[in-house]
């Protein structure tokens, strides 16, 4: 019985997860026997079912009193499992279980489908049950989901717990025996496989039959039994969550004290080392599972399961636990008396024998059970369960019945190659625990060792390029690359050589993917021309040796920077020129941004990039334009006001832009004076157009950067605008005015780009300011746009975030007079560019300025088919002048294999890159057409992709309960839904037009990693950190290393079901990090992290973390640091109390949930499924 095997496996397997190597081994052989019985079930489904199964099966198994010989070895399975299962059953709606009983045996679940506990800590376990673990890890991103689901179910409490929360060493429950048990497990596994098959088919033995009834009874009894726990429920009405209750029940020291001591429990939990707890538990279980102990353990499970909280955390709700525990025990005793007395160890062995028919019934129900078993969100259990339960009836039966024509061996192989599929309908929790790594590009042997460009710099939407355009069309995937060319990178090889080796025909830079015909010739990998190598290329500057061209840095690194010789300059490098334009109209004065801007400027004047020639200038404008002359000899800046704004001219030819080094004092004086100078003006006008025109005249000669601060709608002089937004229409279905109202700003930007001037815009508006029109100055001149809506100097957090942003802006690297060219292998061409730049020719972008925070996207199209090539390359070459006046070329090359197989293309898709590209295309669509078109395009793109995959996989057409996705695209619906609910594309929710336009602009210009946070924020439950802090406190003695690694904090999907009133959650939205503090967070945690004693002390709007000296606070800071590591500047932290009015901001971003005007994730999936033919 495969089923048995699976059951047995989970405990051991769980920790093993993540070990791919083992999976491979196991995957092939293991898959065959297991899957045979019901080959129809898709792997994904099986996976789900499996999770549920173990619980049920375990229950059943335990009941048969027949002990297995040699079972003693397998101590890994804790007896308390039984308790858990009971609990799970309680939560099951009776109807579902009964309905499922009739269903065919789901035993087919291959071991690999096991619930992966994500981070398998112990390799030992892996070895034994490698198959299970490995597979589970491979299947999609089950880590998260599987865990929570198990939470409801008790199957492998120990394993899960360790994997998630506990530190690896301590985690092993069976430490002493582990090695021995491993080997024994191995044997068992084999046995199971061989045995499993026949048993499944054979008729149930009488024994088995007998067993069935009691089990079912149990299941049904449980719900009834619940009332018994009445007292507990009463205590804690909101948290009906079974898992929670169990958790509570279990004191970490459960072994010693079956009944938890509420007061002390917490302390112990937090402070205590997990190892000790585990051991205690183990002992308990082994010796004789006392009811109390059993409950204790499983309780920990749910916690861990949910988002991988360490089990110690579970103890938080002690008060509740105490009342709850007794009833549980009571139940347990009644229902399970027999199993209880059984020695826990033999369980596994028992499972091996043919499963009783009852088993099957139970198993069939498992799939639905799964849903219910999923960690009922503590905060919303009663309702929460319902939605889960709903899908079961519809989706459950079809899966079993639907024929999936994948043969078993093929499945095994596909898993081997990472081509497994997932049924999205069954796997609601598909976000894997950690940040998803970019898919790896696997190249053919020739370039196998060549290092491809880092995915953070350049990523293609597919990691295998379809051979022909028709193949691409069949896959329905967008083809393109997203690129972050000027990213701040460490260890960038910079080389200076007399002549840079390039292809004579297509001007490609030599790169790691060229082919060396011999030591004197190389063949270009883009146009296939054979070129000569210059003599000096034989010389390796690093080792100072001749002869081996492959040691050259150009050939070793696919990201490289050349210092360009003079041929690459059109004119001598110009000095860095910075011109600042300040809006000083009355609205700007009211917002008070000038103060902050000037003080940041003042502070960071010295840090602005540039050599001794750096020049700065300042212009203020209201209805008129004010110039500041800082000529030599003046002891104070001289103001000149231009009254003729329709025909603007420069009041004097010089000293408006002054050398920063020479006139630093004057500049500083001016910056101090400016905020006061206009503090009392009441001019409502804002002549942005005129100011820009004079700024252009000022910068014309040398190029540079114009920074515009705008606080209101420009309403004077050229380029004045009318308010277009209708505030009453902010949530309308169709959004008008996404297009610029006039092309004045665009023409200006084009003119600027011709003179190598870039305009950056800081919009600090109080009211509608027509971002769509004004942002044209940045969009077409390679600038950047920052938006601080409703900026007020009284709002400290806005000031802080502006100051951080502006500081980064001032001090970050900058490249002047840049151009970027994208070259593709012959047969491909760039179709469309996305980002802020001016396209000067079909493959050349003109970037007057390039900054390290700008990302770009390119759609790629076919010119001819690629049938005769094995790999294709994209090369992005960015030529720029750095702030020291050096001309440099930064070259990135990415090489991708070509494939002619549709399934391979689908499996190689890179969801994040696809989302990045789709969002850019959607912005174009909404501007060219309208927003609802763009929204439809999102949905259609998703449907098309899944349709295409269905065809690629030869799945039967027509409706089924499944939505089969390749693992590579499993997250696509999730992200698409995030996009649909994003301020840029949402409808039905009031969104200010400027905010929407800014969000769209971000879609176009953010680098991919930022964009993903922008689209689908990262949600973490930070209890793990707190637990870790407390835990490591105890063990600090041995090692005081500051660099101790942070524990892995699993990512949660953006759904309120994960929220928990006893925990603190962290949501990283890119530029904003929100800490969501539940109402019932233990006071000592609050004290340690936020310095308050109860949640109620938090205000409605709290920004920034207080400074507290505690291990918990330190670790949180380190975690924040890690989150901020890749960001341009560290994010603002907002603390949100559960009941505060700011909660809406948090809830709004929970895009998996349903809102008034939008679908929940599951509904969205159902919609997609219905559309997939």
């Amino acid at each position: 019985m495969s089923a048995y095997n699976q059951n047995f496996v989970p405990p051991a397997a769980a920790p093993a997860n993540g070990n791919q190597g083992s999976s491979l081994v196991n995957g092939l052989p293991g898959a065959v026997p297991h899957q045979q019985p019901p080959p129809q079930a898709a792997a994904a489904q099986q996976y789900l079912q499996q999770k549920a199964q173990p619980q049920l099966q375990q229950q059943q198994f335990q009941q048969p009193p027949v002990p297995y010989p040699g079972s003693s070895n397998n101590s890994s399975q804790p007896p308390p499992l039984q308790f858990n299962s009971n609990i799970v059953n309680k939560f099951l709606p009776p109807s579902s279980t009964s309905a499922n009983n009739g269903a065919p045996p789901p035993s087919t679940l291959p071991s690999h489908l096991r619930p992966p506990t994500a981070n398998g800590p112990t390799t030992l376990t892996n070895g034994s049950n490698g198959a299970n673990s490995a597979h589970s890890s491979r299947t999609a991103s089950p880590g998260l989901m599987s865990v929570p689901q198990q939470g409801g179910a008790p199957p492998m409490p120990q394993n899960t717990q360790y994997a998630h929360g506990a530190p690896p060493p301590a985690a092993l429950p069976i430490q002493p025996q582990s090695v021995a048990s491993l080997t024994s497990n191995m044997h068992q596994m084999n046995l199971n496989r061989t045995n499993g098959q026949p048993s499944a088919n054979t008729a149930p033995t009488p024994q088995q039959l007998q067993q069935v009834p009691p089990q079912q009874q149990q299941q049904h009894q449980q719900p009834l039994a619940n009332p018994m726990t009445g007292p507990f429920m009463g205590n804690k009405p909101p948290n009906l969550n079974p898992s929670a209750s169990r958790v509570i029940g279990s004191p970490p020291t459960g072994g010693a004290q079956p009944v938890p001591v509420p007061a002390s429990g917490q302390r112990i939990m937090y402070g205590g080392t997990p190892a000790s707890n585990d051991q205690q538990n183990n002992n308990l279980q082994r010796a004789a599972p006392p009811p109390g102990a059993g409950t204790a353990w499983p309780p920990s499970l749910p916690k861990a399961a949910v988002p991988g909280i360490p089990h110690p955390m579970q103890t938080q709700p002690q008060a509740q636990s105490a009342p709850f525990a007794p009833p549980q025990q009571y139940q347990y005793g009644q229902a399970y008396q027999q199993p209880l007395h059984q020695p826990p160890l033999p369980q596994q062995q028992q499972q091996q024998p043919a499963p009783p028919p009852g088993m099957f019934g139970a198993q069939t129900s498992s799939a639905p059970l799964q849903y219910q078993a999923q960690p009922p969100p503590p905060s919303m259990q009663p309702q929460g369960q319902h939605p889960y339960a709903q899908p079961q009836p519809t989706s459950g039966p079809p899966q079993l019945g639907a024929p999936v024509p994948l043969n078993v061996a093929q499945q095994g192989f596909s898993r081997l190659w990472g081509q497994d599929t997932i049924d999205l309908m069954q796997n609601r929790h598909i976000l894997s625990p950690a940040t998803l790594p970019a898919p790896k590009v696997v190249l053919h042997n020739q370039f196998h060792e060549s290092i491809n460009c880092s995915p953070s710099i350049m990523r293609c939407t597919v990691t295998k390029i379809p051979e022909t355009n028709s193949l691409l069309q069949k896959s329905r995937l967008p083809l393109g690359i997203v690129i972050h060319p000027f990213r701040d990178v460490n260890n960038l090889p910079v080389i200076q050589c007399i002549n840079i080796v390039r292809c004579r025909l297509c001007r490609t830079y030599i790169n790691p993917f060229v082919y060396f015909v011999d030591s004197k010739m190389w063949k270009c990998n883009l146009c296939y021309r054979v070129n000569e190598l210059p003599e000096d290329f034989q010389f390796d500057p690093a080792t100072k040796t001749y002869g081996d061209v492959t040691r050259r840095p150009e050939v070793r690194s696919s990201t490289i920077e050349f210092i360009a010789p003079s041929e690459y300059m059109l004119r001598p490098p110009q000095p860095a020129m910075y011109l600042f334009l300040f809006d000083v109209s009355i609205i700007a004065q009211q917002s008070g941004y000038l103060e902050a801007a000037c003080s940041v400027l003042n502070r960071h004047l010295d840090e602005m990039p540039g050599d001794a020639r750096t020049q700065v200038g300042f212009i203020c404008y209201d209805s008129f334009v004010h110039f500041y002359s800082m000529a030599e000899g003046l002891n104070q800046p001289h103001e000149m006001t231009l009254l003729d704004i329709d025909e603007p001219f420069l009041p004097r030819p010089d000293s408006l832009l002054v050398n920063l080094k020479e006139c630093k004092e004057l500049v500083r004086d001016l910056l101090k004076l400016l905020p006061k100078r206009f503090a009392h003006t009441h001019d409502p006008g804002s002549a942005l157009g005129s100011a820009l025109q004079v700024a252009f005249k000022l910068m014309q000669s040398s190029g540079g950067r114009i920074t515009v601060f705008q606080a209101c709608l420009p309403n004077k002089g050229p380029g004045s605008l009318e308010p277009r937004e209708d505030p009453n229409n902010r949530s309308a279905k169709d959004v008008a005015h996404l297009n610029p109202a006039t092309d004045f700003y665009k023409r200006f930007a084009l003119e600027c780009s011709g003179y190598q001037i870039a305009c950056d815009l800081f919009l600090m508006n109080q009211q509608y300011s027509d971002m769509a029109t004004i942002s044209g100055i940045s969009k077409h001149s390679g600038g950047c746009v920052h938006h601080f809506p409703l900026y007020q100097k009284t709002k400290q957090h806005m000031v802080d975030s502006f100051r951080m942003c502006f500081k980064r802006y001032l001090t970050r690297k900058i490249g002047f007079e840049a151009v970027m060219r994208i070259r593709c292998t012959r047969g491909l061409q760039v179709h469309t560019f996305h980002g802020n730049f001016f396209v000067r020719s079909t493959d050349l972008l003109s970037l007057p300025n390039v900054n390290p925070d700008a990302g770009y996207g390119m759609q790629i199209s076919y010119e001819e088919s690629l049938t005769d090539v094995k790999t294709i390359c994209f090369q992005a070459a960015l030529l720029y002048t750095n702030s020291e006046g050096e001309r440099r070329i930064r070259v990135h090359t990415v090489c991708l294999p070509v494939t002619s197989s549709l399934p391979e293309v689908m499996h190689s898709a890179d969801t994040e890159a696809i989302i990045g590209l789709l969002s850019k295309m959607a912005v174009d669509r909404s501007i060219a057409s309208n927003l609802s078109d763009a929204r439809d395009a999102f949905i259609n793109a998703t449907i098309d992709v899944f349709n295409a995959f269905k065809i690629a996989q030869n799945l039967p057409s027509g409706q089924s309960g499944q939505l089969i996705a390749p693992r590579s695209l499993a997250l696509m619906p999730l992200y698409i839904l995030g996009l649909l609910k994003h301020p840029a594309f949402r409808v039905g929710t009031s969104t200010r037009l400027d905010d929407r336009v800014y969000a769209m602009d971000c879609m176009k210009t953010l680098p991919l990693d930022q964009l993903m946070k922008f689209v689908y924020p990262e949600l973490y439950k930070i209890d793990v950190l707190i637990y870790h802090a407390r835990n490591s406190n105890a063990s600090t003695t041995e090692e005081d290393d500051e660099e101790e690694p942070l524990p892995e904090v699993p990512r949660l999907q953006l759904s309120a079901e994960h929220l928990d009133s006893r925990s603190i959650f962290l949501m990283d939205c890119g530029q904003l990090i929100m800490l969501y503090v539940g109402l019932n967070v233990p006071p000592d945690v609050l004290e340690a992290v936020l310095g308050i004693s109860s949640t109620a002390e938090l205000g409605d709007y709290v920004y920034g973390l207080p400074h507290i000296v505690s291990a918990e606070y330190d670790i949180l800071q380190r975690f924040l640091l890690r989150l901020n590591y890749d960001k341009p500047y560290s994010a603002l932290v907002q603390i949100i109390r559960d009941t505060s009015t700011a909660k809406g901001q948090f809830i709004e971003r929970l895009t998996d949930d349903r809102s008034e005007s939008s679908l929940s994730y599951y509904e969205f999936l159902q919609h997609i499924r219905a559309q997939v033919k």
Partner: protein, 144 residues
Amino acid sequence: MVFNFTAFTYIVALIGDAFLIFFAIFHVIAFDELKTDYKNPIDQCNSLNPLVLPEYLLHIFLNLLFLVCGEWFSLAINIPLIAYHIWRYKTRPVMSGPGLYDPTTVLKTDTLSRNMREGWIKLAVYLISFFYYIYGMVYSLIST
């Protein structure tokens, strides 16, 4: 053989159509240059945009002549193109000056190929109508 108004119309149409053919050829060449990197899109758009309206007006003027002299068939075969021109100009990007072509979008492959195709098709249409106008002129000269 009488030189009537219809014959005059056709002669004017012939001359006008010759200009239109030149416009179309210029259009095709300009976009081909863009495609092959020879020209800066800003310059190219600046040279193309002023020619758009004259071309449209000239075409409409010829058809007005057909209307006046009752050459319904000639008018009919031109009406689709007039409609297209009007639609095209109505959906042009936001621009302050006359013209159709926006330097920031003209290099998108879609736009580029659409403009190329439009150029070739118009060239074909103008050429065919050129020969038709010759026929119409001769016919109108002979018929009376």
